[in-house]
């Protein structure tokens, strides 16, 4: 048990490192589209699932995908929450200020859902089935956070 022992020596370690990842052809095309405000999904030729994020093969049918189709930046909210705990932001390593909204959005033209942030200016408007639209940054860089969050369509 812990109580009887004196405190032992411990070490602290701080690290600051950089990683660089290859995107692959489907994600390269997708993110270049995002930089122009365009969303696209890859369709499985066997099960017809239109995938976001796009990827080279359908994990259910194990077949290659190369047929792209347009996806709207408007869709239906199928799940939502407001997070009240400051979770680590995977881009910066710093806690993201809370509270903030999270949603699963079924974008028109895609069969998978997109998990993304929600505008919580009026949380009473968040409900399953609500229509939502992406709010884009002024300057697009070709990353998923070019969409700041989704807001409920008036």
């Amino acid at each position: 048990m812990t109580a009887a022992k004196p405190e032992l020596v411990s070490v602290t370690l701080d690290l600051d490192m950089t990683w660089r990842y290859a995107s692959g052809d489907p994600m390269d095309r997708f993110l270049n589209g995002v930089a122009k405000g365009r969303l696209e999904a890859l369709r499985c030729p066997e099960c017809d699932t239109r995938y976001l994020p796009p990827r080279p093969f359908c994990g259910r049918c194990n077949v290659a995908m190369d047929e792209w189709g347009p996806v709207s930046d408007t869709g239906t909210l199928i799940a939502w929450t407001v997070v009240h705990l400051s979770i680590i932001d995977g881009r910066t390593g710093e806690p993201r200020p809370s509270p903030y909204g999270m949603g699963l959005v079924q974008l028109d033209g895609a069969d998978t859902t997109l998990n993304h942030y929600l505008d919580t200016a009026d949380p009473d408007r968040l409900s399953i089935g609500a229509r939502v639209k992406a709010v884009w940054r002024d300057e697009l860089r070709g990353a998923m956070d070019d969409i700041i969050h989704f807001e409920v369509v008036p």
Partner: protein, 385 residues
């Protein structure tokens, strides 16, 4: 696979922090307990399987460092890391090793020392192109899935709070458990801090320091030792697609868990899980998840989970006590949590579960759930297959 059995179990005292021991020492505590329980020495162990989520501690190749704690030097040693299923998958790997004839007696040990690392950072190191921009960790992912589950199944915060209360009260009978709260009430859960709507602090599992070990033996060795063992009658493990949005209505469809359960039940001849199982140790990282698992594991029809918790069917004096140990909601050293499920299910079959014993338990279920993408289902019996 030939017959195999769990012939010994061992656990540490699980706690928020164990600064009194290193990671290898933590493991040694559980391993020594399991060897004593099995009546074996380290020389009797032919191979070691470990489970740990190394990104949580931020130390690469933990098995290199900690295997000495498991008497691994000079033996085959490898590690499994699949989130919450790490421990159950390590147990299944041990079953296969002993059941294939490759090894006779296998030690499985899982551990996590959350207090020494950054669990949230480990959770944030996901797909750099997609999830990192919009990650909200296990908490946000669960809350999203739960919002769908509540809407579709008519489950309320009160139903979930009953699960949270059951777990922590059961844990009060388990000397190893991290959170022991014999006087916890539904009101306490509902008034605890809101983390991500509708999840309150007490709806979620803790982060614990702890280790757990089991000794797996071939059927021949288990039989020679005597009549008492926890025999493995079925094991199934399933992986699902990688992104949260790949599977709509995740807690409702629970594709991987339902598929694993169907396979394991067919192997073991389970036709009516609520009647056939005497006790279940299931991996419930959140109160609501336990309700969703009741349906996926076919304890009831879809939409009936709230009735099971309302009627006390899964409480200690109910028809199928679920998580007499207090479950993951009371103790969660992630890499060990799946091993704890198998160890606790085995203790019940051996009649050595102390104050948390379910009288006369003969058939037990143990499950694992990892990162919403993995599911493990294991069926154990006191009778030989």
């Amino acid at each position: 696979m030939n017959a195999v059995a769990v012939i010994g179990t061992g656990q540490t005292n699980h706690a928020k922090a164990r600064p009194d021991v290193t990671q290898p020492e933590l493991i040694r505590e559980a391993v020594d307990a399991a060897l004593v329980d099995a009546g074996l020495t380290a020389d009797d162990i032919d191979a070691v399987v470990m489970s740990n989520m190394e990104m949580f501690e931020g130390r690469a190749l933990p098995e290199l460092w900690v295997a000495e704690g498991a008497y691994g030097t000079g033996k085959p040693v490898f590690k499994i890391a699949t989130g919450g299923t790490s421990g159950t998958s390590a147990c299944i790997a041990g079953f296969h090793q002993a059941g294939s004839g490759a090894f006779d007696t296998v030690l499985v040990v899982g551990f996590e020392k959350h207090s020494e690392g950054h669990t949230q950072t480990g959770m944030a190191l996901v797909d750099p192109f997609w999830d990192r921009a919009v990650a909200s960790g296990a908490l946000g992912n669960f809350a999203l899935s739960i919002s769908q589950y509540m809407a579709e199944r008519g489950v309320t915060e009160e139903h979930a709070a009953q699960v949270a209360v059951k777990a922590r009260r059961n844990a009060a009978n388990n000397p190893h458990a991290h959170l022991q709260m014999p006087d916890l009430t539904i009101d306490d859960v509902l008034k605890s801090r809101m983390l991500a709507e509708p999840l309150h602090l007490l709806d979620m599992c803790p982060q614990s320091d702890g280790a757990a070990a089991i000794v797996v033996a071939s059927g021949d060795t288990a039989r020679k030792r005597g009549p008492k063992a926890a025999w493995v009658h079925a094991a199934a493990t399933r992986h699902d697609q990688p992104y949260l949005g790949d599977l709509d209505r995740r807690l409702i469809t629970t594709r991987a868990l339902r598929s694993a359960a169907a396979s394991a039940y067919a192997q073991a001849g389970i036709t009516d899980p609520l009647r056939d199982f005497d006790i279940a140790e299931i991996y419930e990282p959140a109160s609501y998840a336990e309700l969703a698992w009741y349906e996926a594991l076919e304890f009831c029809d879809d939409g009936e989970a709230r009735r099971l918790i309302d009627d006390g069917v899964t409480s200690m004096d109910g028809e199928l006590p679920v998580n007499p140990s207090g479950g993951v909601l009371s103790t969660n050293p992630v890499g060990a949590s799946g091993v704890i499920r198998v160890a606790e299910a085995s203790l019940q079959l051996l009649g050595r579960a102390g104050d948390r014993q379910v009288a006369g338990a003969k058939t037990a279920l143990a499950t694992g759930y990892g990162v919403y993408a993995w599911s493990d289902v294991i069926v154990l019996r006191s009778e030989m297959p």
